[in-house]
Amino acid sequence: MNDAMVMLNLNMQAILPQTVLILFALLIMMVDAFGSGATEEHAGAKGALPWIAIVGILSAGAATAWAWGKTPVSFQGQAINDHFALSINLVVLLAALLAVLFSTSYIQKVNRQIGEYYALILLCTVGMMLMGAATDLIVLFVALEIFSLALYILTGLHRANPRSTEAAMKYFLLGAFASAFFVYGAALLYGATGATQYDAIAFIVSNGQADPYLLYAGIGLLIVGFGFKVSLVPFHMWTPDVYQGAPTPVTAFMSAGTKAAAFAGLARLLVLALPAAQPQWGWILAIFATLTMILGNLAAVRQQSLKRMLAYSTIAHAGYILAALVPGTVEGADAALFYLFTYAFMNMGAFAIIMTLEEKVGEDALQENARGLNQRAPLLAFLMAVFMFSLSGMPPLAGFFGKFFVFRAAVNGGWAWLAVVGMITSAIAAYYYLRVVVAMYFEKPSAEREATVPHTWPALQIGLAIAAAFTIVVGILPSFWAGIMQSGFGW
């Protein structure tokens, strides 16, 4: 096939899931704008918005499934729908689905502009999916900005809550700062290789034609940009503040979706385009992974706020995932992908339970809110225990196999000491996860909370059921799901 043919053939199907989701986001904005006046009688149209979003997410899922197993096609060399991209699509769409389910009847108490909210969630999802599909530095950056900008707004959605606004401001300022490094890194990489497309970069780097100074500085700054998004130490400091301040469904979505998207981008860039430079970037990643695992877990130990605790835990999990990428092997990319998958539902499930523990919408949920939960709502307590056990890596739940594959990838890649650090810090992590279980099952609720039952609603229950089902089933049939979540890179 010659170049002219490629130009004529746009290969729109390569970005079909993203396109579908954009159309649904537009539809939501239309319905929001024309479907509801100022009066109450149009409330019905607003109530339909989350369901439109869900239909959109499922349609994008169907589009992803349609492309499954077919020969990957590239959208002009900019983005591709290979197995890796499709797997990331599934993870991100699952996160978006859970986020929408959790948001119903919660988010309108935070902000009445729910039309924007669901549209932004979908657009954010588009950006995240594109991160996994991008095969060009420019597309990668655009994808990064699409979802980042949406997240800044979503974080500040609770305008009446100063903490939410403060979080949005911090996230935006520091995000802009990190994006600058990211762009600078991309520019340096372009300077070193004269290309923005991964295949060209890989070719030039592996032939040793790239200027080493520009190349390594570029890689380093790109790692900084990614490191900010996935909250690696020392680029993590925004995470607890933003996680605590953002409305909880947004936090849940952010924790799973951002992580999946940014790690997808990082994995594709390093493993696919820059494997030749692994001896250089491997060590820096290993150091970041070590710092992140240690500091994230240590800081989580003393948190009183459940959201802050999970924020530090999310930092720690980033360290585990990074450990899989250090060797630069396909096995490591597979392991990271599987981990992102398991992390999405178990962590979002935990956030959903935290939502029900908030006494006033937007108010923080503390450790003591969970005390005696088993007496007040045994089912919720049980689900929370499942999520906590899974997050701490207890077999036979999904989290165990996530950790198992990740550490195995590190060991097989010749980085056994990283796996050892991971296992030791996991032991610390068990302390703060199980403390929640202890509080729920072995402590008595304070007098004023004794009679209060956490508020749930059907959509939230569906979401929780999905998250719990995945946590258990993936733990029982890990091989089957690992077979689905395989990187399978194509160009």
């Binding site: 401001m169 911090k170 300022l173 520091l174 700062f177 990190a178 490094f181 100074y213 390594y216 500085a217 890689i219 380093g220 700054l221 790692i223 900084v224 490191g227 900010f228 020392p234 680029f235 400091m237 925004w238 607890p240 503040d241 250089q280 060590w283 820096i284 500091l295 240590l298 800081a299 989580a300 130990v301 003393r302 948190q303 610390i428 302390y431 049939l477 091989s479 089957f480």
Partner: protein
Amino acid sequence: MIQFAWLLLAFPAAGALINLFFGRRLSKNAIGAIASGAVIGAFAVAVMLLVALLGLPAEERAVTVTLWQWITVGTLDIKAALLIDPLSVVMALVVTGVGGLIHVYAISYMHDDAMFQRFFVYLNFFIFSMLILVLSDSFAGMFVGWEGVGLASYLLIGFWFDRKDDLYGWYADAGKKAFIVNRIGDFGMLVAMMAIWAALGTLTFHDVFAQAEAGMLAAGTATLICLMLLLGATGKSAQIPLFVWLPDAMAGPTPVSALIHAATMVTAGIYMIARTQPLWHLAPDASTVAAWIGALTALMAASVALVQTDLKKVLAYSTVSQLGYMMLGVGVAAYGASIFHLLTHAVFKALLFLAAGSVMHGLHGETDMRKMGGLKAKMPATYWTFLAGTIALAGIPLTSGFLSKDGILLGALVHSPVLYVVGLFTALLTAIYAFRMFFLVFHGEPRDKKLIDHAHESPRLITWPLWILAGLSLVDSLLNLPFILTLEKFLEPALGAHEEPALTLELLALALSVVISLLGLAMAYGLYMRRDGWAQNLKKSLSFMQGPLENKWYFDEVYNTAVVNPLKAIGGWFTSFFDPRVIDGAVNGVAHGTSRLGEYARRLQNGYVPTYALSILVGVAAVVVYFLFI
């Protein structure tokens, strides 16, 4: 047809789950009907599988039904798959057939128990696990079932965990004893599996046996594997040295004793050896050990059964003894005869246990035979069915027990005359203790008048299963008549061809068995019914045996002195010193240090954006410095 074999597992699984989650809202009859219906449904599936197998030519009667990919780690690749062949189908028929009757019986027997729902959930879970054990196509799958039945056994022995009496101590402790002793056997199973994996790189039966038969297993390795499997079998099937848990297991409700500790679970070790027989052909030494363990266990347990005064304990030792026969059978490569005896024993021993349960039901839980006597008139149905079980156990000619036991003895005779003599002598003891028990319970004058006067026959839900089992125990010998050997021929694809002994030998063995069993009956009649002078003299001259027998040959005492108490002493030292000081000290120290570090980490977070930006900048500087200068 055979592809639907998973239904066999689905029925009891569904029964257990329905009763677990909805049992609280259901009536007792509904719970019982669901649980029994599940097992009877599974039985119907097993019958269908049998029909399907019979429709295939003999050499194709081994179908693997793959359910899903279970574990894939490295080169370890295990499928969740069922192996449908004559052996597994026969086992499934025994488990679900006898199990179904016992479920029906238990509806009435357990009716007044507060934990009725829990009982049937456990019982269905047991059937589910037992079917996994016998149907799995690999060592790994079999081990899952192996552990599952162990768990069910533990839960059901200690079912009345809040009870305590002189016979068993705390019932919960009896459950613990069973579990812990079985762990020793499980250790053997695990070592055997690891050795197989290390030597052959696979765990599925088909591949292991194919490679073993192709000579890829060294004789030494095969012996090690078989000895470890034998250790597992001695635990599960209550053989010397690990039989000590089974007598205590009688603390469980009687249907449990009948189902788990007589008919099915305890035969798992026998099944396992029969299933793995290609390995045992490579390890004749291990087979000889198995044969001797079986023969000695049979003799030892039969001798102890002679002097037991508790009805269920007699049956327990009798079970140990009969399992010894089966072990002897598989040890001398009479696999078909062993499985036949397993089948007949499952029927007549379940019958005896259930009939004993009926006696207990009529006597308000009394199991002491010294208080019984003269129950014949009070409980006619129980009497006649118990008699059917007794003559089968005693091996009276033409009963099922006679033929199946004779098959094993014949195998022993071909192998070694000494083993045969031990087995034959045990048969004599068996006949004596079987009729002793029968006469003491049902004949003679009531020894506790008040108790016997209040006795009553059990309701129909209890007696019907007894009649069915009694009928079966009289006719199931037709399955495998001498020289025709229908069952053994059917089992041949799984167990290998039957060895044809010399005709004279076979007739001689039959004749001797007839004589021995009738002699035993006569002796029991003289000893416990007519109380003749010669019998009393014999008893007196053997009175020096009284002490060792009543104390079960001191097995428990020796184990307590040699193993349990030293371990307890070590454990005491660990709890009083090592754990609080060394372990807790270290753990608390680490926890304290971690907590302090956590506090420092928390303080870094001061909330100011410039600090955060500075942190990023430090990271950038570090990265750039690393890449450019190192």
